[in-house]
């Protein structure tokens, strides 16, 4: 017997004496993250209905293979057609690893999935089911230390998705000076992603946290204080931006499939 049931500890048979609904939070996390994963997987493999001039789904931008429709490929088709067993793979699969990696290694999501999926621990002062534990000291979890690389990759995507949002100030014929509901959707998505990145712990560290003397770097200190304020809300941005991406994709999909019309304000 280990942990709270070790021989030296107070003899209490319950794994927790908490009386509140401590299981609710991890249950919600599992439900929401699982739904997102199912939807994202389906969409990544679907490989259609992701572009409706001038809107592109964030799951498919940048679209880098030859399968991408004209106008969707901001950066051209550097990968040509990649095929596995004769099947051309979805352009989404090429790029999703980056935003996925950013979120997988994110300090907030780590907390969320370690608690809810891995039950380590399921909630504070609730005994976990595992008999051994080594944390993030061994492979594969030691790779969590690579969060900053995904952070920088995430910034590249933020730039691309921001350009997508700007390109959405055109109409379906490519003329500038128009704005639709789709513009707002992509703009909101890009903004939320920027907030998510800016509030990231690695961002906070890079911008100023790693300094020993703030007083010698007044500008970086100022930026650090701003990022610190955002960082306080990192968990919120993590969730909202996740919904943002999903909703942006849903919207583009409906428009591309012709289920709804992208309403233009002007």
């Amino acid at each position: 017997m280990s942990g709270v049931f070790s021989s030296t500890r107070a003899k209490i048979s319950e794994r927790t004496l908490r009386t509140d609904r401590w299981w609710l939070q991890p249950a919600i996390t599992v439900a929401v993250l699982a739904s997102f994963i199912v939807y994202a997987t389906f969409r990544a493999f679907e490989a259609k209905n992701y572009f409706a001039e001038p809107l592109i789904s964030p799951f498919y931008s940048p679209c880098l293979t030859a399968r991408c429709p004209e106008g969707a490929s901001l950066l051209g088709h550097p990968f040509g057609t990649i095929a596995i067993f004769g099947m051309a793979i979805s352009p989404a699969l090429l790029i999703l690893i980056f935003p996925l990696g950013f979120r997988m290694t994110c300090y907030y999501y780590r907390k969320a999935y370690y608690r809810s999926f891995w039950q380590s621990p399921p909630a504070c002062a609730v005994a976990e089911p595992h008999s051994t534990y080594t944390g993030e000291t061994k492979a594969p979890l030691i790779l969590q230390n690579g969060h900053r690389w995904f952070f920088f990759a995430g910034l590249v995507f933020n730039v691309i998705l921001s350009i997508d949002a700007i390109l959405a100030f055109r109409n379906a014929q490519g003329q500038w000076g128009h704005m639709s509901v789709g513009t707002l959707v992509l703009l909101t998505n890009a903004t939320l992603l920027w907030l998510y990145s800016a509030s990231c712990h690695t961002c906070r560290h890079t911008i100023g946290g790693r300094l020993k003397h703030f007083s010698k770097h007044p500008l970086r200190y100022k930026l650090w204080t701003w990022v610190s304020i955002l960082n306080h809300k990192h968990a919120n941005f993590a969730w909202i931006s996740l919904f943002g991406v999903a909703l942006a994709d849903v919207y583009v999909r409906f428009v591309a499939a012709g289920s709804i019309t992208n309403f233009y304000f002007f």
Binding site: G3, T19, A125, T132, G135, R210
Partner: protein, 256 residues
Amino acid sequence: MSAIKKMVKLRIWRGDAKDGALQDVEVEANEGEVVLDIIHRVQATQMSDLAVRWNCKAGKCGSCSMEINGKPRLACMTRMNMFEEGETITVTPLRAFPVIRDLVTDVSFNYKKAMEIPAFEGPKDLKPGEYRMQQVDVERSQEFRKCIECFLCQDTCHVIRDHEENKKSFAGPRFFIRIAELDMHPLDTLRNRKQTAQTEHGLGMCNITKCCTEVCPEHIRITDNAIIPMKERVVDVKYDPIRWLGSKISKREGIV
């Protein structure tokens, strides 16, 4: 000045290292009281030998740490009016440490760990009175020095709460903030704190599930302000080839 009196139900764990059990007791409570008041009343009226550790009764010394309805808390900071009318309040000793008797546990683990953290090393060329530090440079460390050493963070941390065997290699949240405090101290000159945080004190064992932050009575943002920044500093010196290269070229401060 008449306070409203009522009866409350308590289940208190009584026993020692060999055996023990929860015992039910009913006791009077007055308006505005905290759990520690109720325990003192139990002591004075029904169980004169009930062991409980306490001291300042103002949330400043961190002595009366225990688990109330399963949550690590200070008994002096747990107001009775946060419980439902008629609710039975369960009080047990901390469950991450060996029990001595009743609500008192052996917290010597924490003092052993304190001994393992290298102390502050000030600049050799500055005499007392010559230290100059800017307020913005001391504020981060000051947050961690608010710690009252109640050890609730150590108690709730699953790394040692659920895995006795990790105690030898893991310093725990209280000492991660100590390491962060020193690493961020503007005049500390010891240069390998980041390395040893990982290699000696088990920073990598932490999976940042934030229970330490949740239970901290001083509201120190242990995870966001100490542990994660330290993890990032560890990445700087151990897992970031670019920074590593930079340190070889320019011998930058803090990278050893």
